[in-house]
Symmetry: D2
Subunit: 327 residues, 4 copies
């Protein structure tokens, strides 16, 4: 349930409402809007008796939320959320491009690729320092050394950096270095990392699990928001189906679905879904066309010698071509 405050409600009236909600055994989360504030009631299992709240000063009305998610819902906030990091606005109408290698390999590779993606117009540099890998025997990333290289990228190029945190204790370290923290598809329902992400001051990019419904993705975002972090970027990256030409099936209908249900921005990762660089450019055009707020794309200066996922990485020329085609 949402408690809608009057346009001229005072801060102390809002606080009183939050206190009353707490007294009722729930939790009230104030959501400031352009004109007025709403207070979202969470923690109730069934319907809430709003008679006492409606009689409080400053309260205009109450609105039932019909979805299992609340804070992420368009019912709670009608206008799109724009997440501003440094000079970059995600969700603000202009698609944001986050590009870079699958894994941070070494300083030369990292800076070379960073300069390429910067030159062609990317705003955010992506690169994995901690890599969740199917096999325990595969390269698991450079770890903190990789994070230091990301910091160097920011210092040298001015690009923002995004990188993945792989569990709730690891997030502690990642947030020291990253401008945006990625939570990977395999961790979409790891509630410990979601709760910890909710206490971070960094924006969170949350990838859809490859067997997750849209509602489950939104519920996972709700974990982050309910813990206090309102800066959540959703990411469609392909789902598991019987189709076998691509690694996963990029579900571009997820974009209008999410836009209909939630105010949060949503970007698309065509690289992991396709699994092959040949399809990354057309799928990127498709993603922007259906209304995505940005792209997360793998780029490598020398894909044939990439430590991981070279098969799906664009080279410099292909990335330049992509940027021309989507802008």
């Amino acid at each position: 349930m949402l408690v809608i405050m009057k346009n001229d409600a005072t801060e102390s009236q809002v606080e009183a409402v939050v206190r009353e909600i707490k007294r009722m055994g729930y939790r009230g989360i104030p959501i400031p809007g352009a004109l007025r504030t709403a207070v979202c009631i969470t923690g109730n299992e069934g319907p809430v008796d709003d008679s006492r709240l409606l009689s409080m000063s400053g309260v205009k009305e109450t609105v039932r939320v019909t979805k299992p998610y609340k804070l992420v819902s368009k019912e709670t906030r009608a206008q799109p959320t724009v997440i501003v990091v440094g000079q970059v606005a995600i969700g603000g109408g202009k698609p944001v491009v986050m590009a870079g290698p699958c894994a941070i390999e070494n300083e030369t590779q990292t800076l070379t690729i960073a300069r390429i993606v910067k030159e062609h117009g990317a705003q955010v540099f992506r690169g994995g320092a901690f890599k969740p890998r199917t096999s325990p025997y595969s390269f698991q990333g450079l770890g903190e050394e990789g994070l230091r290289l990301l910091k160097k990228v920011r210092e040298e190029t001015g690009l923002l950096v995004i990188t993945e945190a792989i569990d709730h204790t690891n997030l502690e370290l990642v947030e020291e270095y990253a401008d945006i923290i990625q939570i990977g598809a395999r961790n979409m329902q790891n509630y410990s990392i979601l709760r910890r992400a909710g206490r971070s001051t960094r924006p969170i990019l949350l990838k859809r699990g490859f067997a997750a419904t849209i509602e489950e993705l939104l519920m996972s975002a709700e974990y982050v928001m309910a813990a206090g972090n309102t800066d959540v970027i959703l990411c469609e990256r392909g789902i598991r189906t019987f189709a076998d030409v691509t690694r996963n099936t990029l579900d571009l209908s997820a974009i209008p679905s999410i836009k209909e249900l939630s105010h949060l921005p949503v970007v698309v990762d065509p690289s992991h879904a396709a699994g092959r660089s040949e399809y990354v450019i057309p799928l990127s055009r498709g993603a922007i066309a259906v209304g995505a707020d940005g792209l997360l794309v793998e780029v490598h200066h020398d894909p044939a010698h990439a430590l991981s996922d070279g098969r799906q990485s664009l080279d410099a020329e292909q990335f330049a071509s992509l940027m021309r085609q989507i802008t």
Copy 2:
């Protein structure tokens, strides 16, 4: 295997090659190209001994085909096939829009919708006269009466018409009326209708079955081509997955996949995949952006009263908006 003829090979040399292939127990299908003719050998289970063929006059070389499909393969024909029907070229670079109601209901409905889609720039009118329906108790279409209304649409508006044939004997009747014959998703592996379609003089629009791989779709098109009809248009219309916001998951990566493997044109039906009109416009934009050669869209002048699938039909205003957005 392909037998590549020399640029100056004569018709009788080609015929001699076809005869020799027949003598070997296979079938040779001449495929004329811009510069020279190739003869495709079909019917062989294993490798073909080409020594005799290579020694024949007019023969330049032989090329092994590595895919299970041959005639539909890019290996057999590198340049894209353009299918010309009346004034409309499908596959020629400019997307073709085929629009109209799910089912032909009556003369007024049909002509009203035909005028709407014509006015906003569609080139082909779609409408079902024979409807394959999950329930034996649902409206199964007007039958031949529906076909006569389609003929009237062509006469009154100049639009081409496309409609579905539901089995191999029914195709006989449908080809008297339709400019393009649709084979529906449920019939994609009904080989009797595919073989009969291969003997038709009309172009065939073949929809991907909702659990079909790209290879299976191409193999079904191969049935049509192997029986003699080279005018096949493929259609992506969504696949079955666990995802539940849309009726099916539109697999837009199918478009670059098909373009990579085959020379045939491919269009997208966003209406059946989405199951909801709200998503049809963004998915249509996405389809064109990934490189589709056209769209198959459901339009109804009064969706709320449509006899079938009103939920996913665009009304006149939405269709006008769609046409503005994709051209």
Copy 3:
């Protein structure tokens, strides 16, 4: 809606009810039961006004059917249907085994395998004369010659024979030879063949399409029953999923689901689902354990040299072992 007749209702009272239903614009199908007859009303889109029917003599009450399917529903007939063909009862408690090669290859192969499956206790011989094949260049079966060999199997061994009809005109020929007519997974929603099967006097074994829901399978069976043939055997044969160790994923939960919703018998084809003979025996045990009324199993005396699907065929020894394990 069902019109339940009184226990002592006369035949002419039932006929009067059928006539009245016809007068109302619907169709009434009498369903005789052990104690009394019900008349199922089909063809109505919305609710039926039953006031006139309730006042007719011999009518006890009316019952609304809540499912989209009627004749196949347990609501219409509570006790399980037992289909008796010759000496074999399908659905009568004792699992029936239908076994034989994927394709009829020649007389020696056919009779050899028939003797093997007979010896070890199968009641029905399976073998394809008309083979729906993904590739137009693959062996498509011996055709009518194959049917004649099936007839010979029946004459020599006394086994019943089941074989596939591939379209509605082909079914005409198949029913001259087969004791049970199979409709394959790819034809599950080919409504022309379903309607024709509904006018056959042979029992129909209807395979679940590999992307069909249980409701869709039941609706397809409803097509057959609505056209007049009440002898329908359902068959689970695996669905398409992302899982890749087996060819398809055998959905054994389909068995209790179907048993809950319908009175029709249901058998399992583990061979096509598994795609590998190693898994056929455990999956067969599983099928019987969950309550299947029988098995459809591929057996070949020399799998390594089978013309098709040898990879998933049991040899004589494996089949003997299977029969020991399930009886």
Copy 4:
């Protein structure tokens, strides 16, 4: 690669081989067998030069491992692993039944259910103290209080207890109380918890993720084994497909697949897959029939009032019936 030691190789010869492998830059893990020891080489990306190893004393031969997983593979250990916990042997031929409520609710509920499952023959009590829940607003379990109740169950009934750990720091606490630690489907690719589980002295029950292939499941088990814990029990609990009668599709072909590829025991959880108690008994029979080493079943003395998942819980009478049917 496996280094197979001679039957009479001494411990110091094995140690020398491990040292040599380390010197080569890899890691050697001794795997004692009934007759002789093998040393598994992990950490290599490509082929290993075994010339030096072959010349060492006590070494019989080397064997290449063809799968991406090694320690879990049947190539490494041909005979089935039997995991003994207290008096219970998992994988030893006799199916083990682990039964109890979805969530630990309070002492009365817990002990009541424990007595029921004990009475009817279960060997292990299951119950969630920490519950990963889709919604942040749902009941997340009693936490450590729930663990204490599990301890009480063991003390009062003598049943072993299994419960879920939800992240790598939480596992620390869970292993103090549980006899077997469960890692849930959503955490199957949470490598932090897998690595931590690999350092536990408790057996680990690892559930298959609902979009995981068999190979991915085995790779996740490999994480646990590579970190030192050889006691891993795999669990099939249903995969996500389009099928909609059950919550997930129980993939019983996973059992023979796993048995073919790995020596680890595998159990089945029919409750979560089915989502409805009606299907739990037939699916349990099916699981045992295909060869599962045990079951994980939800039981509640009062399903209608269960705090979570009552819909799929067996009541006392149903559980008694299940136990009669599978033993």
